[in-house]
């Protein structure tokens, strides 16, 4: 069956296996079918050799977190992300992946009001302990949140879907930090309800393209700062996804907020570093996709007493967008590896620039924090969350 993968890209893998240890699902299962080399081989068998799409083959594709740790590890430059995106898109079109209930849930992401109402209901249910822990919702989900206000028009702050509904306080901290550097901020709110990253992962590329076109039209000219690594990665990919010069120009205006802040640090007020030991957790979409994870260190260094590195070379934590909800067991096994790495450095906080990772880690008791919250605490004396 034609998976509609570019034959040249599919042929680029020499099957050397150097990517295997960087794949979270291979690490926890030791199963070739859950490794990048195995998944690529199965794509070839299906697309080139006419092998049938059995349930085991689908399982192999389904269990990929799409963290793309294999891509930065691959010396041959295999564009794994493209291979898996094409595969998912083809399979979703044939109804082989992403069942209807998932599609319905994903569609809600682009409807802020519905999402907020749903989230408030969830938050209340969560308070009464009615939500299963495996869903990994934040313990203190806000029922009601103060709206973000536009302070100027130098930069956009992308607020997105789930994060705005659940963790608006992070956007607020990010906004205060950018303002402290002397820039007026316009939170995007309803202008750009959702980046479409989760849809892309689920094979619904058409939807993502639709969101992308709408967003490009509604956010002209200015730099767009993004404080969620997954959203930033998706928006930086619009150029490739739509293949138009406007999309490419849009993507060039998208910055991870730490990436944007690092060269602007001199504009922030001088402050005493916080007396905290902070371990950096690199979200995959920052480290392996955007590849700007070093900026997080640069941006944080002046504001905390100690920065700690984890020793797992950016191995995925298992959150993976909706992965932790769809594949809870695998996600927990993967997380267990991350937890041991964290324990080895024993930090006060674990800084994560991606809300999905932060939630996934927090639900096992890790004191997570967004880098912007730390900087905000240092320069604006806002209180740090309890450890």
């Amino acid at each position: 069956m034609d998976l509609k993968i570019d034959p040249e890209e599919l042929n680029a893998c020499v099957q050397c296996g150097l990517c295997l240890p960087h794949c979270p699902t291979f690490r926890v299962t030791g199963d070739e079918a859950m490794s990048p080399r195995g998944r690529i081989k199965l794509m070839r068998e299906v697309q080139d050799a006419g092998a049938p799409l059995t349930k085991e083959v689908l399982r192999s594709f389904d269990t990929c977190v799409q963290c793309r740790g294999c891509e930065t590890a691959c010396p041959s430059g295999v564009q794994y992300g493209h291979l898996m995106e094409a595969t998912r898109e083809t399979l979703a079109a044939k109804g082989k992946v992403t069942p209807r209930w998932q599609r319905a849930a994903l569609m809600a992401l682009n409807r802020p009001r519905m999402l907020r109402a749903g989230s408030a209901a969830l938050a209340i249910a969560n308070k009464f302990g009615l939500v299963p822990a495996r869903l990994g919702l934040p313990a203190n989900m806000p029922v009601r949140q103060a709206p973000l206000k536009t302070s100027g028009h130098d930069v956009y702050l992308f607020t997105g879907c789930v994060m705005d509904a659940w963790q608006r306080s992070i956007h607020a901290a990010a906004q205060r930090v950018v303002e402290a550097a002397g820039y007026g901020v316009e939170p995007t709110g309803a202008l750009a309800p959702c980046c479409g990253a989760l849809h892309m992962h689920a094979g619904l590329a058409k939807t993502t393209r639709k969101f992308a076109r709408a967003m490009i039209a509604s956010l002209p000219d200015r730099p767009i700062l993004v404080d969620s690594a997954g959203c930033g990665a998706a928006m930086k990919d619009y150029g490739h996804l739509l293949g138009t010069p406007e999309a490419a120009a849009f993507s060039a205006r998208v910055f991870d907020i730490q990436e944007w802040l690092a060269p602007n640090l001199a504009r922030l007020p001088v402050s005493e570093p916080l007396d905290v030991r902070v371990a950096i957790q690199d979200p995959c979409h920052l480290r392996h996709v955007q590849q700007v994870h070093l900026a997080t260190r640069e941006a944080l260094a002046p504001f905390v007493s100690e920065l700690l590195e984890l020793d797992d070379e950016g191995l995925c934590c298992g959150a993976g967008g909706a992965f932790s909800v769809l594949e809870p067991e695998l996600a927990q096994d993967i997380r267990a590896r991350k937890l041991t790495s964290i324990e080895r450095v024993d930090p006060d906080y674990v800084a994560s620039a991606n809300p999905g990772c932060a939630l996934h880690l927090a639900s096992s008791g890790v004191p997570t924090i967004h880098p912007m919250e730390l900087i905000d605490a240092a320069i604006n004396n806002t209180p740090l969350p309890a450890k």
């Binding site: 020499v14 050397c16 240890p21 195995g38 049938p52 059995t54 010396p75 041959s76």
Partner: protein
């Protein structure tokens, strides 16, 4: 002489050569018994899984795997072997599947024993400088684990981030730093194995003296044909107090090769000396961005280690010898990070070639150091004659060449040229007084070359050794020894061409 490439072209006929075309699908009874011996989650018999485990990192395409088991203890390995024996099936042990000689490729739908889940570091005994590990422990994971206490596992194959200790033992792996430290054999004290009969045996010992025959030595490098390693006692090597890494650029490959000979002639034994030619350097630099000079015709990566003063002197000597031999630039890595990045480049070199062509065929010959420059020149000429791209990256210190011939198997006729050029390269190496030695093992790749290295008598003795361990030839049949010299392997093999799940 049939070469490996002939076999690739003739994958299907090979399968029939191994005993007819009766398709040995895993029978329900076999799978049920394996599941009963382990647990259902540890046995996989679906077509996709079997298709995947019919390959390793070599080009060979004719394997057919039977059910795949994932044991987690030595006892479970015994149980699997016992069930296989009862069902008259061969077994094939498998580590990470990075072998380049096809050692882990299954023939005749055997029970594949994947050791990836036996990956615990069982005991680290610093006082006696030994650690007991399970065979599925990844080489680099072990070294990282030991780093905290100031030690490492010395054999560092370029695939060390992924290959397993069991695979290293089975292929007697080498690596860049084996120039000074010796290959795997020198770093393994004892191996616990499960024999084809299902019995356990301990080969070697961690004590000072070893009594009787060196069975440990016989097992190391046996590529899974003598049994399954289930526990390995490895020697711990102390991390050196000081390390210096030099990167020398040259205007010709000859100048780099001459420098290597001159360094050794001067009585210096660096920890590692690796040469890469310009083409491979460009591909590598494109991936690692370590600052490799892409305009040099060749680069030499040399590392010296030991006490700080000695290291400083040796680094200066190497630098001077390089300059005398025409080095255009000598760079000293300034930080641990820079050093690591340079090595990352060298160690991912084979993988990086796919940036240029999707397939490569790698030779692995050893020539006397003094002949390095001439043989290399000849290799380039051979490739030119056959209109092929060749890249050279090699363990220069011990004269171990790894010419990579690049091709695209989809292009008609290209493989034939690779094949012809390959044969000439081998001849050129032998003519220069070299050997067909392989740190990559014999597997199926070099099986048919064995006749050229060993007399018929030698081979018969090797076969008798094999028989002593495995009288019915059930562990990894069809490997290493040429068919004419291997016992009852052929009976254990029943195979069909791959292609369909199921």
């Amino acid at each position: 002489m049939t070469s490996f490439l002939d076999r690739i072209r003739a994958a299907a006929p090979i399968a029939s050569r191994y005993g007819g075309s009766k398709f040995r699908k895993p029978t329900d009874a076999l799978v049920a018994d394996l599941e009963a011996a382990l647990s259902p989650g540890q046995v996989r018999a679906d077509g996709a899984q079997r298709a995947l485990l019919s390959h390793d990192a070599s080009l060979f395409d004719g394997g057919v795997a039977g059910p795949v088991c994932f044991p987690t203890t030595g006892e479970e390995v015994q149980a699997v072997v016992t069930v296989a024996l009862r069902h008259n099936r061969a077994i094939v042990p498998r580590g990470a599947g990075t072998g380049l000689a096809g050692g882990a490729i299954p023939f005749g739908a055997p029970v594949v024993i994947s050791l990836t889940r036996m990956n615990r570091i069982l005991e680290v005994d610093v006082e006696n400088r030994v650690a007991w590990v399970e065979p599925g422990v990844v080489n680099l994971d072990l070294t990282k684990h030991l780093k905290r206490i100031g030690f490492h596992f010395a054999p560092d194959p370029s695939s060390q981030q992924v290959c397993t200790i069991g695979g290293n033992v089975a292929t007697n792996s080498g690596g860049p730093h084996c120039l000074a430290y010796g290959v795997t054999d020198a770093h393994v004290l004892a191996v616990e194995i499960v024999l084809a009969s299902g019995e356990k045996a301990m080969l070697g010992s961690i004590g000072p003296q070893d009594e009787g025959l060196d069975l440990r030595g016989a097992f190391i490098g046996s590529e899974g044909t003598l049994g399954v390693a289930t526990k390995v006692a490895v020697r711990l090597t102390k991390n050196p107090p000081a390390v210096k890494t030099l990167l020398l650029s040259f205007a010709s490959v000859r100048a780099a090769a001459n420098t290597v000979s001159a360094v050794i002639a001067a009585g210096i034994v660096p920890a590692a000396m690796e040469v890469m030619d310009q083409r491979i350097t460009i591909a590598v630099e494109n991936f690692v961005k370590a600052g490799y000079p892409v305009d040099a015709a060749a680069v030499l990566l040399a590392e010296v280690e030991g006490l700080a003063d000695g290291v400083k002197i040796e680094a200066e000597q190497i630098s001077a010898i390089g300059t005398q031999n025409g080095a255009t630039e000598v760079r000293l890595a300034q930080s641990e990070a820079e050093r690591e990045l340079l090595w990352k480049g060298r160690k991912t070199a084979f993988g990086a070639v796919a940036q240029i062509k999707p397939d490569y065929y790698l030779h692995d010959t050893v020539v006397p150091r003094s002949a390095l420059a001439d043989v290399l020149e000849e290799i380039y000429k051979i490739a030119d004659r056959h209109q092929l791209i060749v890249m050279n990256v090699f363990h220069a210190g011990d004269g171990n060449l790894h010419p990579l011939l690049l091709f695209d198997r989809r292009i008609e006729g290209e493989l034939d040229r690779v094949h012809a050029a390959g044969a000439e390269i081998v001849e050129a190496s032998l003519a220069a007084g070299g050997v067909l030695s392989g740190e990559h093992g014999i597997g199926i790749e070099k099986q048919d070359y064995m006749d050229r290295l060993f007399t018929s008598d030698d081979l018969d003795h090797q076969n008798r050794l094999r028989n002593a361990f495995d009288p019915s030839c059930r562990t990894n049949p069809g490997k290493v020894l040429p068919m004419a010299h291997s016992c009852a392997d052929i009976q254990a093999l029943r195979s069909v061409p791959a292609g369909v799940w199921g």
